[in-house]
């Protein structure tokens, strides 16, 4: 995370992201009544030309992936990407309590829960009230390099926070990446500073 603030700010941000990601894991676990394993969150500051490399480094999926995107906004705005390895959320299908669940519906459901909890969890620590738009499937069976159109990205700098989830005894692996572009980074840092000031 070079270039972002000082050691204390980075550390504080890390910790806050940690807490947010923990909320996401907890939400998923409660909804599906199962146990979720979380990785240690990683944070990176990138520019558009680095983004594909950064995503590749964070998401070490070898084959084609399925990705869902969802935006959040209000005082802070950004977008989240939930990237699933082949099979998407199908491994969780028997955990839902309604019949006839389709792959796409489950994919959107799980992604929405993860994004809502993770981003919501992070924002709640700053007393930020966020609004979410519906999730949509970005691509099925694409390679990671093809997910984003690098030429058209409308920001200069973005913070990426990544965590990945596994479910015990099931073929489910999800990488959740949240992107905080430009002004949102400043809002995050201001909130972090406010927190540090109390210590």
């Amino acid at each position: 995370m070079i270039g972002l603030g000082n050691d204390d700010q980075r550390d504080a941000l890390s910790e806050l992201v940690n807490i947010g990601m923990g909320q996401a894991g907890d939400s998923l676990a409660r909804l599906f009544d199962t146990f979720i394993t979380l990785s240690i969150p990683r944070i990176e500051l990138v520019q558009p030309r680095d983004v594909t490399r950064a995503i590749r480094a964070l998401v070490d999926a070898p084959g084609p992936v399925v990705a869902v995107r969802q935006a959040f906004s209000s005082r802070i705005r950004g977008e989240a990407l939930a990237i699933y390895e082949a099979g998407g959320c199908d491994a969780l299908a028997d955990l839902v309590t309604y019949p006839d669940v389709t792959s796409d519906e489950l994919l959107l459901e799980v992604s929405n829960v993860l994004v809502g909890a993770c981003v919501g969890g992070l924002a709640a620590q700053f007393s930020l009230d966020l609004s979410f738009s519906p999730p949509s499937i970005l691509g099925s069976h694409r390679s990671i390099d093809d997910l984003l159109d690098v030429a058209g990205l409308p920001w200069e700098n973005a913070l990426i926070a990544e965590v990945n989830f596994r479910v015990v005894d099931r073929a489910f692996r999800c990488h959740l990446l949240t992107f905080w572009p430009d002004e949102s980074i400043a809002v995050l840092l201001r909130a972090v500073d406010a927190l540090l000031a109390t210590l």
């Binding site: 409660r30 909804l31 309590t97 959107l108 919501g120």
Partner: protein, 415 residues
């Protein structure tokens, strides 16, 4: 988030807004929900949502609402995965095109003064127009794809057809060239045959002269001479038969390679059939026996080269049908010709696969084929029909039984 106090605003929205508490009892119900469901607010407020609307997808909706109560985050649903939640009438009473209103939904937690989630507010958006546009676009896309595939296939067929045409012309050219050397060979073989007979005569004269003078025959060649006398003429005869066959093939190829004539000429149908069988021998002789019953036919005015093509396509189709139906066994191609008061009729029958009911109406369509590219151009029957019907005023029909075989009938009007 608190619901705004101005309920009249909610009622003017062209979207459904309602909320339920943690017991699934309805707390708010706006005008959109009331008019579309036929149940006004007074009738449903305080009642269980699922009791009021038993047609709702209860397990799914309960899951959705539970997730909002449990997690405190937004939840969504899209018409693309779930066309509708409530069976509401669509907004197309005149134009129709769809069964029920398509709906997107958003579910939001409503937090009470004590910080807990007291109810979930749902917003239903009418997405019917978007859905119908999507549907139309999907269909157009599908149609385009189908046409692109068809176009590729036609391009392949056309390429094949051009190649065959070129080969046909080449064959005609070669046939023409072969004629001359065949002539030489034929003449030479005849000469050698006659020369041998003459030489035999001379040998007999010499032997007789030797015998009269009581001189021993230096060439005690009774056995050799006898051998030569027996086998040489036979060899000549075989050579001539072979040459005749070559000449027959060459003549047939030339007749096929002829360009389309402008005027009709008198033609012998039976001969055309025989010519065709000669040219197509390699197509059928491994898979079928041919039974030929050629009746007495008057000559008819026709484009004989084109009729050759018709018979060619029919015989080849027959052979292919047999090969497909009886791999490894021999089938039967039965060809009959006869004359009727007003027409000359040719029937070409096979005991091959027959033609299925759903394919039958399409067999004469240009470029329609059940064979892979390269094996049949798909144009055969279309061309045949065009020649018989358009160029000769006749008729080309077929009778078929799936699994038993097909009989094609060509009727040509008598001049």
């Amino acid at each position: 988030m608190q619901l705004p106090a101005g309920i009249s605003t909610l009622d003017r929205l062209n979207a459904g807004v309602f909320s339920v508490d943690s017991e699934m009892k309805i707390v708010h119900w706006n005008l959109f929900m009331a008019s579309n469901s036929g149940k006004p607010a007074e009738q449903v407020i305080g009642k269980d949502l699922f009791a009021c609307f038993p047609e709702l997808p209860a397990p799914w909706l309960r899951w959705k609402l539970r997730s909002v109560f449990l997690l405190g985050t937004f939840a969504f649903s899209s018409w693309k995965q779930r066309p509708y939640i409530f069976k509401f009438p669509h907004n197309r009473p005149l134009t129709g095109g769809i069964d029920f209103m398509r709906q997107d939904a958003a579910f939001l937690p409503v937090v009470g003064d004590d910080g807990t989630i007291t109810s979930v507010c749902a917003m239903l958006t009418d997405m019917t127009d978007a859905a119908l546009s999507h549907q139309a676009l999907d269909e157009a896309h599908l149609q385009l794809q189908r046409e692109l595939i068809e176009r590729e296939r036609m391009k392949d067929e056309l390429r094949m057809a051009h190649k065959l045409e070129a080969v046909g012309q080449l064959a005609a050219g070669i046939a023409h060239e072969i004629n001359t050397p065949i002539q030489y060979v034929s003449d030479s073989v005849s000469f050698v045959g006659e020369a041998f007979t003459e030489l035999q005569g001379y040998v007999q004269i010499y032997r007789k002269a030797l015998a009269e003078r009581s001189v021993a025959d230096p060439v005690n060649a009774d056995t050799d001479l006898a051998f030569l006398a027996e086998h040489a003429p036979a060899a000549v005869a075989r050579a001539r038969a072979g040459l005749e066959r070559i000449a027959q093939l060459v003549r047939a190829m030339k007749e096929f390679g002829q360009p389309a004539q402008r005027d009709k000429t008198w033609g012998n149908i039976n001969r055309a059939i025989e010519t065709t069988l000669t040219v197509t021998t390699s197509e059928y002789n491994k898979v079928a026996d041919v039974e030929l019953t050629l009746g007495e036919l008057p000559e008819v005015t026709c484009h004989i080269a084109e009729l050759n093509q018709v018979f060619l396509h029919l015989v080849i189709n027959a052979a292919h049908a047999i090969a497909e139906a009886h791999p490894g066994e021999r089938g039967q191609i039965t060809i009959k010709t006869w004359s009727e008061p007003d027409a000359v009729v040719i029937s070409i029958a096979d005991n091959g696969t027959g033609i299925a009911d759903d394919i039958a109406p399409r067999v004469f369509d240009p470029f329609f084929t059940t064979k892979p590219v390269g094996r049949g151009t798909g144009q055969g029957l279309a061309i045949a029909r065009s020649i018989v019907v358009d160029r000769h005023g006749g008729a080309l029909t077929f009778e078929t039984a799936l699994g038993r075989g097909t009989t094609f009938l060509v009727r040509l009007p008598r001049s």
